[in-house]
């Protein structure tokens, strides 16, 4: 089974500060780690490889230092790492990112499965995984909590819902995004760390991928971050008392008043 895992390098702390003037993350002095949700994706890929054999390719889009995230994935059992890195990709939103990653994946050749974490801990959009599957025109199953059955042709998965779960069967190739309930990521082995240290990471730039310039980077991004702020907490609330018909009328008046 050839598996592709998409990962993202993110700042470690959950208390990242935002520069109020530029609305960007203040990354100074903050350690970079693999997005915690992607760790489950890597682990699940390694478990599937242990069962079915095959190869795991890890892909990330990011600056040159994201190389260390790919090496960490290799230390856990992935086989090779691809760094999608070019100034032309800078400023990508989830549309441009998923378009670019889909382009890189096409370049990698035949695959059976793509696994992503359910979302990144910095942006929290949960859009890139589904975006990739849409660009590649393959089925997607999001919030996977368990692989029930797997063959090289199809998979039967438990998909987490807010209350309970649903069972979904999908043909392969497909894209899954996984939640933390799916497994417990392993600690790398010393031999894995050694292998990761000397592993070759392949960099893919716009030159190699030759993507539509209108769909990559800042100009290929239909969304723009205008402002980042903590929403002010909602206050109060009002409890209406009395007979139901009276309350209903009062409520309608109140809503009308709000609208006007």
């Amino acid at each position: 089974m050839n598996i592709i895992v998409c990962i993202k390098q993110v700042p470690e702390t959950t208390e990242v500060r935002i520069n109020p003037e530029t609305n960007t993350l203040m990354r100074e002095g903050v350690k970079s780690i693999i997005n915690p949700f992607d760790m489950y994706a890597i682990e699940e890929a390694v478990r599937l490889k242990e069962r079915f054999g095959g190869k795991i390719s890890v892909v990330t889009m990011g600056p040159p230092q994201a190389d260390s995230a790919l090496r960490e994935a290799i230390s856990m059992g992935a086989d090779e790492g691809f760094l999608v890195c070019d100034r032309a990709f800078a400023g990508s939103d989830t549309w441009a990112t998923s378009y670019t990653l889909a382009g890189a994946i096409k370049k990698l050749g035949v695959f059976d499965l793509i696994i992503c974490g359910k979302q990144a801990s910095d942006g929290d959009t949960a859009q890139v995984g589904p975006g990739i599957s849409t660009h590649l025109n393959i089925p997607q199953v999001t919030y996977v909590k368990k692989v029930e059955e797997a063959t090289d042709k199809s998979m039967r998965l438990e998909r987490m819902l807010e209350e309970g779960y649903e069972i979904i069967e999908t043909p392969l190739p497909a894209l899954l995004t996984v939640v933390k309930e799916i497994n417990e990521p392993r600690i790398p082995s010393l031999k894995g760390l050694m292998r990761a240290k000397s592993a070759k990471i392949t960099t893919l730039t716009q030159k190699e991928l030759n993507l539509d310039p209108q769909q990559i980077g800042l100009c290929g991004s239909p969304t723009q971050v205008v402002k980042i702020f903590t929403p002010t907490p909602r206050v109060g609330g009002q409890i209406l008392k009395g007979e139901i018909p009276d309350i209903a009328k009062e409520l309608v008046d109140l809503v009308k008043g709000e609208v006007n």
Binding site: I187, P188, L190
Partner: protein, 383 residues
Amino acid sequence: MDYLLTDEQKMIKDLAHKIAEEKIRPVAAKYDISEEYPWEVLKVMGESDMFGLFIPEEYGGFANSTMNLCLATEEFSRACGGIAVCYAASALGTIPIVLFGTDEQKKKYLPDLASGKKVAAFAVTEPEAGSDASGIKTVAKKVGDHYVLNGLKHFITNGGDAETYVVIAMTDKTKGARGATAFIVEKGTPGFTFGKKEDKFGIRASSTRELIFTDCKIPAANLLAKEGMGFIVTMRTFDMSRPGVAAQALGIAQGALELSVKYVHERVQFGKPISTFQGIQWMIADMATEVEAARGLVYSTARMVDAGIKDVSKESAMAKMYASDVAMKVTVDALQLFGGYGYMKDYPIEKYVRDAKITQIYEGTNQVQRGIIALKIIKEMAK
């Protein structure tokens, strides 16, 4: 202090640190109370190649290095002295096979020990043979192509949980120390059973148990080294493993120091953190300096062993004795810094005091270590 570790050693230390923080520290209190054997943690150590650190590559290990063993043991012990000793005791049971085993014995036993699938134990101590190993009463009698073992070992770390035991027994009582022989005994061998499991003051995650041999028949192929070499096997093994015990003590001291520095920074009395008081600062300064001095001794000794220097008994004894005395003093001071809270089991620090104490006792009491050091120095002077 920078000990100029190689990239590989840094990698080992970092990985052991990660295991300690993510897998050991969260369960340390649980195993201290339950006294269960921490298989879940040992499994992780095995999968991460940690048991391979003291086993040569050709037998499924990573490298045969005392320094590697010390780095890993120190990191594990920072989080839990009890779980760390399960690991270190397996090293102790493995080292004699690495040092004296035939190629066949190594091929048979080392791969499973390197992967952590099985753990090992070393059995010398008996009720009447503690520091005085010449008091060993367990006997091994050769009958055809077998040896028949009879006797009792006690206080055996990993006893009952280990699969592979190296046991010292007398093959010729008339020869005294030269009549002792080492054997590899597998768990499950008929006539080999386990007795009392000890209820201990500290290192409670580790099992300490009696081994009972009743007409236990083992193949002659399980003889380690030669008949009569049992004490040489023991002494050479201890020379290599003592830096490991020292590293355990060092890790316990380091762990207690870190917790207390954090605590004095957070604990406010008289309107300010107690770390601002000179009385506290001086204690921290002394503790940190002593830990660093112990580390210097431990690492230097480990490097001597790895460099192939044959006679390291003085340095090994110094490292073990000093690091364990420091561990005792530093953990008691750490508890003092925690004040009344430190005395309560709700806080992790009292466990460090309990875990530290054994390091002054086992693998040769610190009085025996001082004897080794003094005799060696006097001998050197007389040359």
